[in-house]
C-alpha cells in the first residue's frame, strides 16, 4: 500500500494484533535500541513515570497514547535523554545517556530527531539556519563540508515540503503548519537513528498532516530508525500500524481496548 493512499479501516481493538504482524522484522534485528530501565520521574512529587521498564529494539517503532496530562510528552523527553530521570537509566543503542553531553552522544553515533508539540524552533534563526545548525555544529563528526551540509539541510526542508520562499524567514513569520514542518525538517536533517515525535498532527491542516504521516511511515520502515511517537489520533495509529502502548499511572501497558483511545469521531480524516 502506498502511503498516499487512504488506509483501510483498522479495528482499534486489534492494535496488538497489528503489532504482532510486524514482529518478524523485529525478531530479526535483535539489537538494542531504546531502553528504559526502572525509570522514575516526577514533577515536584507528581509522579509521571514510576519504575518504568521499556524496550524498543533498533529499527522498531511504537506509539504511546494516554489521557491529556498523563505525561506522554515527559516520557518522550526522558526517553530522548532531554530530561534526566530521577532514578533509573535510559539507554540508546546500549549507551547510558546520563553521563553523556548531548554532543558526546552524536560522537557515539546516537543521532536523535525530536519534534516538539510547539516546534521548539530557535526564534532568532531563519528556517534554513534552524535546519543547518546541528549539521554545522557536528560537521566534523558527520564528515560534512559546507556544500554537503547545505545540500543535506535543503533536502530535509524539501522532504518536509517547506517552500523555498520560507527558507529565509524566521519562525515568527511562518504559519503554525509550516513551523511544524520546519521542526520536522530540522529533526530529519541530522539523519536520526532515534526519532521522537510529540503529537505529530495536532492543529495541522490536512495537507501538513498528510506530509507528516508519510514521513512517519518512511521512518517506521527504515530499519536504522527507532521511532517513538506520542499521539491520541486514531487515524495516525491506524496508519502507522505499530505496537501501541498506553501511559497510565506512570506505567506503560499494551493497547488492549478502545478505552485507551479518544472516542471515535473526534478527528477528521485528511483530505476528507
Amino acid at each position: 500500500m502506498s502511503d498516499n493512499e487512504a488506509p483501510p479501516p483498522v479495528d482499534l481493538l486489534r492494535v496488538d494484533a497489528i503489532a504482532g504482524a510486524r514482529l518478524p522484522r523485529r525478531e530479526r534485528d535483535r539489537e538494542p535500541g531504546l531502553t528504559l530501565d526502572r525509570v522514575d520521574f516526577d514533577y515536584q512529587g507528581h509522579v509521571i513515570l514510576a519504575g518504568m521498564d521499556f524496550e524498543l529494539e533498533r529499527g522498531a517503532s511504537a506509539v504511546v497514547t494516554g489521557q491529556n496530562g498523563c505525561g506522554k510528552s515527559t516520557l518522550l523527553y526522558v526517553a530522548a535523554g532531554l530530561l534526566p530521570p530521577r532514578r533509573g537509566t535510559v539507554l540508546h543503542a546500549g549507551n547510558p545517556l546520563g553521563a553523556l553531553f548531548p554532543s558526546a552522544r552524536v560522537q557515539r553515533g546516537i543521532r536523535v530527531g525530536f519534534v516538539f508539540q510547539e516546534g521548539g524552533l530557535l526564534a532568532n534563526l531563519d528556517a534554513l539556519s534552524n535546519v543547518s545548525l546541528a549539521l554545522r555544529y557536528h560537521y566534523d563528526v558527520l564528515a560534512l563540508d559546507e556544500t554537503s551540509l547545505m545540500a543535506q539541510a535543503e533536502a530535509a526542508l524539501e522532504t518536509a515540503q517547506v517552500s523555498r520562499t520560507d527558507w529565509h524567514r524566521q519562525p515568527a513569520h511562518l504559519s503554525f503548519g509550516i513551523r511544524k514542518r520546519l521542526a520536522l525538517a530540522r529533526a530529519l536533517a541530522i539523519k536520526p537513528n532515534f526519532f521522537f515525535f510529540d503529537d505529530p498532527d495536532v492543529g495541522l491542516d490536512p495537507r501538513t498532516a498528510q506530509v507528516t504521516h508519510q514521513i512517519l511511515c518512511q521512518l517506521r520502515d527504515d530499519p536504522e530508525v527507532t521511532l517513538f511517537v506520542a499521539t491520541n489520533r486514531p487515524q495516525l495509529i491506524e496508519r502507522l500500524e505499530v505496537p501501541g502502548y498506553r501511559l497510565s499511572a506512570g506505567q506503560l501497558s499494551s493497547h488492549s481496548g478502545k478505552s485507551s483511545l479518544p472516542p471515535s469521531g473526534s478527528f477528521t480524516r485528511p483530505g476528507a
Partner: protein, 276 residues
C-alpha cells in the same frame, strides 16, 4: 512564654529555610559554571567554531553596542566629580583634583559603573533571552540536536561579559577623564596644565592588576548570575520578567560586594595600605 517559644521557633524555621535556599542557589550556580566550563572543553571542531562565532557576536552586542551609553555616563560622571573637587579644593588644589579624579575613577568608579551598566543592559538581555528559550522549549530542542546548552548558551555569554567589562572599563575611564577635563576647561581654562599633571600622577602601575582582577571578576559575575537565572525559568512566560529582574538585582549585589572585597583585600593585605 508559649507565644515567645512559638515566635522563636518560627524565626529559627525561617532562618533555616533561608539558609537552605541560599545553599541550593549556591550549589546550582556552581553547577552552572562547572557545566559551562566542562562543555567548553568538550571535543568537536564544528562545535568550537559555532561557539566561537557566537562568542564574538555576543562580545559585539555587549561591548560595542554599549559604547554610546558608556560615553554619556562617563563624561557626566567625570564632569561632576571634577566640579565637586573644584568646589572642595578650590584653585590651590588643582593638582590634587586631577589626581583624585583619576584615582577614584580608575580604581573604583569605572569598574563598578561599567559592571552596573553591563548588568542592566546585557544581563537583562541574557536572562530574558535564556528564559524565553526555556519557555519555548528551545533549550530542549538544542539538546535533542546534540548541541550542549551550557556550551552554546552559557559559555559565549560568560566569556562576552568577562571580556567586555575590562574593555568598557578602559573606555569609561578615558571618557570620564575627558569629561573632567572638559568641565575644568569651562570652570578655569588656565588650570588645565596643573590638573593634567595631577591626573598623570594619579595613575599607578599597581592599579593595573587590581583593575584587571576586578573587571574580569565583575564581568564573569554578571554573565554567570544572569545565565543562571535565565535557566531558572520554568514553563511559564510570566516567570521571564521575574527572573530577569532577580538576575539583575542579584548580579548587582554580587558585583558591589565583590568590588569592595577585592579593594579591601588588595590595598589592605597585598600593599599594606601603603599606597597613596
Amino acid at each position: 512564654m508559649a507565644d515567645q517559644g512559638k515566635a522563636g521557633e518560627s524565626l529559627l524555621t525561617g532562618l533555616g529555610s533561608s539558609a537552605l535556599h541560599a545553599y541550593r542557589v549556591a550549589g546550582a550556580l556552581l553547577l552552572t559554571l562547572i557545566a559551562a566550563y566542562r562543555s567548553s572543553s568538550a571535543p568537536g571542531i564544528g562545535a568550537r567554531e559555532v561557539c566561537r562565532a557566537l562568542t564574538v557576536r555576543q562580545i559585539f552586542y555587549t561591548s560595542f553596542q554599549a559604547l554610546s551609553m558608556i560615553s554619556v555616563v562617563a563624561l557626566f560622571v567625570g564632569a561632576t566629580l571634577t566640579a565637586q573637587s573644584e568646589i572642595l579644593g578650590g584653585p590651590l588644589q588643582r593638582e590634587t583634583t586631577g589626581r583624585v579624579l583619576v584615582t577614584v575613577v580608575v580604581r573604583e568608579l569605572a569598574p563598578l559603573i561599567t559592571a552596573i551598566i553591563v548588568a542592566g543592559r546585557s544581563g537583562t538581555a541574557i536572562a530574558t533571552e535564556i528564559g524565553v528559550m526555556r519557555v519555548n522549549s528551545e533549550i530542549l530542542a538544542l539538546a535533542s540536536l546534540g548541541i550542549d546548552p551550557p556550551r552554546f548558551i552559557v559559555w559565549p555569554r560568560l566569556v562576552s561579559t568577562t571580556v567586555s567589562v575590562p574593555l568598557l572599563t578602559i573606555y569609561f575611564s578615558t571618557m570620564a577623564v575627558l569629561g573632567g577635563f572638559i568641565a575644568l576647561f569651562f570652570i578655569d581654562s588656565h588650570a588645565v596644565a596643573e590638573w593634567r599633571s595631577g591626573a598623570v600622577l594619579g595613575l599607578s602601575v599597581i592599579d593595573l592588576p587590581l583593575v584587571l582582577v576586578k573587571t574580569l571578576g565583575l564581568g564573569a559575575l554578571v554573565g554567570w548570575v544572569c545565565s543562571y537565572y535565565g535557566f531558572e525559568v520554568g514553563s511559564s512566560p510570566t516567570e521571564v520578567p521575574q527572573k530577569a529582574s532577580k538576575a539583575v538585582v542579584q548580579s548587582l549585589i554580587a558585583c558591589i560586594i565583590y568590588n569592595a572585597v577585592i579593594t579591601m583585600a588588595f590595598y589592605g593585605l597585598l600593599v599594606g595600605g601603603r599606597l597613596q
